[in-house]
Symmetry: D2
Subunit: 144 residues, 4 copies
C-alpha cells in the first residue's frame, strides 16, 4: 500500500468499526494526510422534531472528521483524541445528507487543530450548515 | 397541570418524540424552569472503538440539556435553537451511563446561554467527563 | 460616498474612536461588506512575559475583526455585538505585528457568524497564530 | 514560604511583570492551587465606544485567570499556555471594575481545563458578564 492508501484504510477502519460512527451510517468520502471528508445520509433516527439533522449528529460528524484530519497528519502509531469541540450552526440542516470536510491547521507533538465545514445536500446542492474547530491531543495508537 | 408539571411535560414530549434523542435512549431526569437533567444508558451503538461514549454522543446530550434549560426559562410559546455549542472533554466517559445537567445562565428576549456538566456513572460513582456552554436563539414554537 | 467608502468609513470610525481598539493601536487594513482586516503593531504593553503577543490581545483583535465583518454585512443602521468568541491558538505570535482577517459566514436578521484568521508578521513573512469564530447579535446602531 | 505563599507569589510575579497584564492594571485578588481570581479597574483605554469594557479585555482577563488556575495546579516547574479560549458574553460589562474567578476542572500531565466566571462591579454589586472555558497545555517553566 502507498502511504495514501494506508491513510484511507486507517480512516475507513476506524469509521466502519462497530460503534457510533458506523451505527449512524458514516461514510468516508476522502482521506489524505491532514484532510478527511465524511458523509451521512438522512434517517429518521438522526433528526430533530422539525425534520432537520440534530445538532448532536452534526457535532459528532464534525468531531469525527476533525479527528481524522489531525490523526492522518500525525506520525504513524499516533492518533488524536478530542479535547475541545466548538460548533457554530449557520442554518438548519434540511438536506438528505450531510458532508463534513476537515483540514488540519496545525499538528504538533502533542496538540492538533482542525477546521471543519459541514454542509447539507439537497438535490445536488450543498448548503453550509455548520463550521467547527476541533482541538485534539495525540496519544499512542492502541496495539491491534 | 402546575407550571412545573407543564415544563416537565414539554421537555419529555420533545425528548421522547421520534428522532435522534429518543432513538439513542435519552431519559429526562429532571426539568424545571432554567434547569434540565437528562441521561443516556450505554449501548454498543453509542461508543468509540475504545469502548467509551463517543464525543458526538456527549455533545448531543449536552446540546439537548442546554436547549431544555434555556427553553424552560423562556416565555410560553417560545423555544430555543442552538447557534453555538462548545464542549471541553475532561476525561474518557468510561461509565455505563451519562448524565448531563444544564442550567440557564442568561435568558433574554433573543439569546440564551446554558452551562452544562456531563458525568459518566459507573457503580453509582459519577466522574465528570465534559463541560459545555450552549448558546441558543429563541424562536416561536411551531403550532401543534 | 460609495457604499464601499461608507463601509470603510464606518469601520475606521469605530476602530479609531477613543477606547480599547485605538489605545492598543489597531489599524484598519481593509473593509468591505462581510470582510474586514485589521492589524496591530508590537508594543511592550501587548506582550506576555515571553515576548510574544498576549492571548487576550489576539482575542481582542479577532473579536474586533469579526464584529466588523458581520456589521458590514448587516443592513444600514444595524450593528453587531459579540455573544460568543472562540479562539484556537496555533503557534506563538512571535512577529512584530498581527493581522486579523475576518469573513462573515452567515448574517441573518438577528445572528451573524464570522470566521477569523490571525497571523503574526516577521520580516514580511506571515505565520498563522490563531483561528477564531465569532458569533454576534444585531442591534440598532446608537444614534450619533 | 508556605506552598500557598509560593503560589500567590508566582501568580503575582507573572501578573505584575512588564507586559499586557500589568499595562492594563490587572490585580491578583486570590491565588491558591487550582483557583485564581484577578480584577481590573475601569480606564478609558479598556472600553468600547458604548462605555462598557471591551470584549477583548474581558477575554484577556478570563484567559489570564484560567491560565493561573491551571498553572497553580500543576507540579512545580510547569507552566500552562492557552490553546483554546471560549468566552460567552452574558451582559454588557457596565461596572467600574471586572473580576474573573477561575477554577481548574481538570489538570493532567499535558492538558488542563479551567472554568472562569467574570462579573462587573458597580456600587458593590456584582453582575455576571461572561463565562469562559480555557484549555491549556503544560510546558516547562522557562529558567529564570
Amino acid at each position: 500500500m502507498t502511504t495514501h492508501d494506508a491513510i484511507r484504510a486507517l480512516v475507513e477502519r476506524v469509521t466502519y468499526a462497530p460503534g457510533y460512527t458506523s451505527a449512524v451510517g458514516t461514510r468516508v468520502e476522502s482521506a489524505e494526510p491532514g484532510y478527511v471528508a465524511v458523509s451521512l445520509a438522512k434517517t429518521d433516527d438522526l433528526l430533530q422534531a422539525n425534520g432537520f439533522f440534530h445538532g448532536g449528529v452534526i457535532a459528532g460528524l464534525a468531531d469525527h472528521a476533525g479527528g481524522g484530519a489531525v490523526t492522518t497528519a500525525m506520525p504513524p502509531g499516533r492518533f488524536a483524541v478530542t479535547i475541545n469541540l466548538q460548533v457554530s450552526f449557520l442554518a438548519p440542516a434540511k438536506g438528505t445528507s450531510l458532508i463534513a470536510r476537515a483540514r488540519a491547521l496545525q499538528v504538533g507533538s502533542t496538540i492538533g487543530v482542525a477546521r471543519v465545514d459541514v454542509a447539507s445536500l439537497a438535490d445536488g446542492v450543498e448548503t453550509p450548515c455548520a463550521v467547527a474547530v476541533v482541538t485534539l491531543r495525540g496519544v499512542d495508537f492502541p496495539a491491534q
